[in-house]
């Protein structure tokens, strides 16, 4: 196959990443799901999902309680426009193959070719860590390198963890994001399927980033993955989540819940590059608890989707904890990126930094919505928020809605935001050096997002720069 041999060339694949969504990712494989629930969400659907997964009674009860909450909780009255979202016409679960595979060759051909076009095998060849690739809602491909296993690191899908480590799951599951947190967290809690479970034992340093490549295939199919990461005392882990989805004509919903627990002296970094197709509602609840002297870092890139509402949160629970959020959003034609960060200071000697960059173009809307809260009676608190926005044409919009709520005398809180277009002087300088206007604009935009890009592993950085270049094509002149 021509496409297959082309995909095997690493250079070729990097060059073509993100090129024209419809041609490259807009392929829809024939639907060969084994189990697929009927459309709409009822108690039967939830029981069916739980039964298929052969879950213990406590998980079923958790799901049913969450379903009740989902039906009673109101839709958010703020943020992006969600009026076109139809909960009734979605399929809540489909299972592609009978059981998860850990060998690449054993995968069905069409699923394999989907991944090859996404470049997963290359990623593996580049000695990346275990790849948990999510096709529809089940882990179908899972590979943990032997050295991870030897160190006692648990990295699996959440279903496996429920079976094999019920004590750990029971202790932490739903404690960071309880089902009654918001409507979408309740929805996820009721119908969750797939997602990653990571446990790092005390003192263990995971040298290589753990990755899961998520993939949504069936039309009008909500993907409700649930990720739970626990870093035990003094450990370190970097988890990477990347998303691409094929183009479908009907709106799709992605509503994930990510729960992170950084126990004392540990450090967790969670990186995401989200590139959903432009008909996707991406409504995600991500939250981390950082205990004494722990460090939590969110690195968040939002390129795709129709509507994104995502505000990674950090609760600084113990003295000396530190939180950092780095995010970029790119809002193109018809897109609404409503992103930001939330930091809660609950202990003394804690600090936080939020750096947010957004670019809006072709009538897109990029909004920063954030919160920093400092409780009374705490000492030595530092927080810094910086929001920069670039608007590339007169029809695009940029909004900034930060909230700062400070009740302590011993706190220092700074917030700075600016919105501007690409500076004429910078363009002029680059053009005087022989670049075309378009090349100059791309270089400036790539420089603008550089603080985030340099925090990503190389493959992601290359992909992100390439995506920005593609998004920028034909935008000048």
């Amino acid at each position: 196959m021509n496409t297959e041999s082309a995909a095997l060339q690493p250079d070729a694949s990097i060059r073509t990443i993100g090129e024209g969504y419809a041609e490259r990712f807009g392929f829809s494989m024939p639907n060969r799901s084994i189990v697929k629930t009927s459309q709409g969400l009822t108690e039967e659907t939830v029981r069916a999902i739980s039964k298929t997964k052969d879950e213990p009674e406590w998980m079923l009860r958790f799901r049913l309680r969450a379903l009740h909450l989902f039906q009673t909780l109101p839709m958010p009255t703020w943020g992006a426009n969600l009026s076109q979202l139809e909960f009734g016409s979605m399929t809540y679960y489909s299972k592609p193959t009978e059981s998860a595979q850990n060998s690449w060759d054993a995968l069905p051909l069409d699923i394999k070719s989907t991944y090859e076009r996404l470049g997963v095998p290359e990623a593996e060849r580049k000695f990346l860590a275990g790849v948990g690739a999510q096709y529809d809602s089940e882990m179908v491909y899972h590979n943990i390198r032997e050295d991870l296993k030897k160190k006692g690191i648990l990295f699996s899908d959440v279903e496996t963890a429920v079976r094999e480590h019920p004590d750990l799951v029971k202790r932490f599951f739903g404690t960071v994001v309880p089902p009654d947190d918001n409507k979408f967290a309740a929805l996820n809690s009721a119908v969750w399927s797939g997602g990653s479970f990571v446990y790092v034992p005390p003192g263990v340093h995971v040298d290589i980033p753990l990755q899961a490549y998520f993939r949504v295939n069936s039309q009008a199919f909500g993907q409700f993955e649930r990720t739970l990461i626990i870093a035990d005392e003094g450990s370190f882990v970097h988890y990477i989540e990347g998303c691409t989805a094929p183009v479908f004509s009907k709106d799709s919903l992605h509503s994930a819940v990510v729960e992170i627990i950084a126990l004392p002296n540990s450090r967790i970094r969670y990186s995401t590059v989200q590139n959903w197709s432009s008909n996707m509602y991406n409504l995600v609840t991500k939250r981390a608890f950082a205990y004494d002297n722990a460090i939590m870092e969110w690195v968040d890139g939002n390129i795709g989707s129709k509507v994104t509402m995502k505000y990674p949160a950090i609760f600084l629970m113990g003295p000396g904890a530190r939180g950092e959020v780095l995010s970029i959003a790119f809002a193109g034609n018809g897109q609404e990126q409503d992103t930001g960060a939330k930091i809660f200071h609950f202990a003394s000697n804690t600090s936080s930094v939020i750096t947010s960059k957004s670019i809006s173009k072709d009538g897109g809307t990029a909004s920063y919505r954030g919160l920093v809260k400092v409780e009374a009676g705490l000492t030595n608190i530092k927080s810094k928020v910086e929001c920069d926005a670039l608007i590339l044409d007169p029809h695009s919009r940029s909004n900034t809605y930060p909230t700062m709520d400070i009740r302590s005398e011993q706190a220092t809180m700074e917030h700075e935001a600016k919105v501007s277009k690409i500076s004429e002087e910078q363009l002029f300088y680059l053009m005087s050096r022989g670049l075309s206007e378009e090349e100059a604009a791309i270089m400036i935009v790539n420089g603008f997002i550089d603080p985030l890009v340099k925090e990503l592993p190389m493959e992601y950085a290359v992909e992100l720069n390439r995506l920005i270049e593609l998004e920028m094509e034909g935008s000048v002149g």
């Binding site: 009374a376 809605y401 706190a411 600016k418 501007s420």
Partner: protein, 348 residues
């Protein structure tokens, strides 16, 4: 366009409102003196109170309502001071202008604002600047805790108009202050500075929205506050740049000084930008007095309280110093007493 705003006001005035206090500066007039406007509110007579308690009346009839209008015609230049007084704090000899007195009956509890046990005082300030008019406006308010405030202000700036506004609020009662400024004319300019102080259980919310609808407008806004005890101030500062306002240059800053644990400063600066050719930014900082600065002042022989006071006055000073010097001094002493800088634990 002369008189338009005054006529609109006369039509819209509520039945129980006192006469509209209006200042009109004709075209090309240059007045170098500061025009003073003293608005005095007095406590209700006891019979008014009894009457109000006996039969429930429409809230509108309870409200003490005051409208003030300032209009500058084309190329007029003026300086105006609007000052809100409570009768007990305003002795006749301190007033610069003929005071407008009004009775304030007790109000039922409002939903938006806790006015229980206090007198509700609502003011509405309208400002219109025609092409190339320049106004230097100071608005001062320090009402005792027996009054709750609801203040609405609305300013419209014509082509090339310049509005310099200094707003000083040390009200001890709860208050909701809403200000909307529209830069409607090309190349108009706003320079707004506010100083706010609160202590004890005072709650105040300051909503300031700056709308740029015409090209090449410029706005500079700074809001500074100091808070003590369990006071709670919230600042909502919006810069809204519409698609038609290309070349806008806007900045809004909010600096809050939290002097004691338990005092609460909330800051909601917002940017809504609908076109690309702009330079818009905002900044917000909240924090306590810096330990290094306190230590330095104390090493020079000041006690802790005096050092703190000096830092507070330094913080608010950049706004207060925009006032004429006699007023600036008076405001400093008002700030000191309103924040209870010279006393300890005086909240009841």
């Amino acid at each position: 366009m002369s008189g338009t705003i005054l006529e609109t006001l006369k039509v819209s005035s509520r039945e129980n409102a006192n006469d509209v206090a209006a200042l009109l500066f004709p075209a090309h007039s240059k007045s170098s003196d500061l025009k003073r406007l003293d608005i005095v509110i007095s406590s209700p007579a006891s019979e008014t109170l009894t009457g109000a308690q006996q039969e429930p009346l429409e809230p509108a009839k309870y409200e003490q309502y005051r409208e003030i209008a300032i209009e500058l015609e084309a190329e007029a230049e003026a300086a105006v001071l609007v000052r809100f007084w409570a009768a007990e704090s305003a002795s006749q000899d301190r007033l610069a202008s003929e005071p407008v007195r009004m009775q304030a009956p007790r109000l039922p509890r409002s939903k938006n604002l806790d006015t229980s046990g206090s007198l509700r005082f609502t003011t509405s300030l309208h400002i219109r600047l025609a092409a190339h008019a320049r106004l230097n406006l100071s608005v001062l308010s320090n009402l005792p805790s027996s009054f709750s405030r609801e203040a609405l202000s609305h300013a419209i700036l014509g082509e090339g108009a310049v509005l310099t506004w200094t707003n000083v609020v040390f009200d001890e009662g709860n208050g909701l202050y809403t200000t909307r400024i529209e830069l409607e004319g090309e190349g108009s300019e706003l320079n707004f500075a506010g100083a706010y102080g609160a202590r004890c259980t005072t709650e105040g919310e300051h909503v300031l929205s700056i709308h740029h609808t015409a090209p090449h407008g410029k706005s500079r806004t700074i809001l500074k506050s100091a808070l003590k005890d369990s006071a709670h101030l919230a600042f909502r500062g919006l810069i809204h740049v519409e698609n038609t306002a290309r070349g806008t240059d806007a900045y809004l800053a909010n600096r809050n000084l939290v002097l004691e644990d338990g005092a609460r400063a909330e800051s909601f600066p917002q940017l809504k930008i609908e076109t690309d050719d702009v330079a818009c930014s905002h900044g917000a900082t909240t924090g306590g007095p810096r330990q290094e600065e306190l230590f330095y002042l104390m090493s020079r022989g000041l006690d802790r309280a005096a050092a703190k006071n000096m830092l507070v006055l330094g913080h608010l000073g950049s706004v207060l110093n925009r006032l004429p010097s006699d007023l600036a001094e008076e405001m400093e002493s008002i700030a000191a007493s309103a924040l209870g800088l010279d006393e300890q634990g005086s909240c009841i």
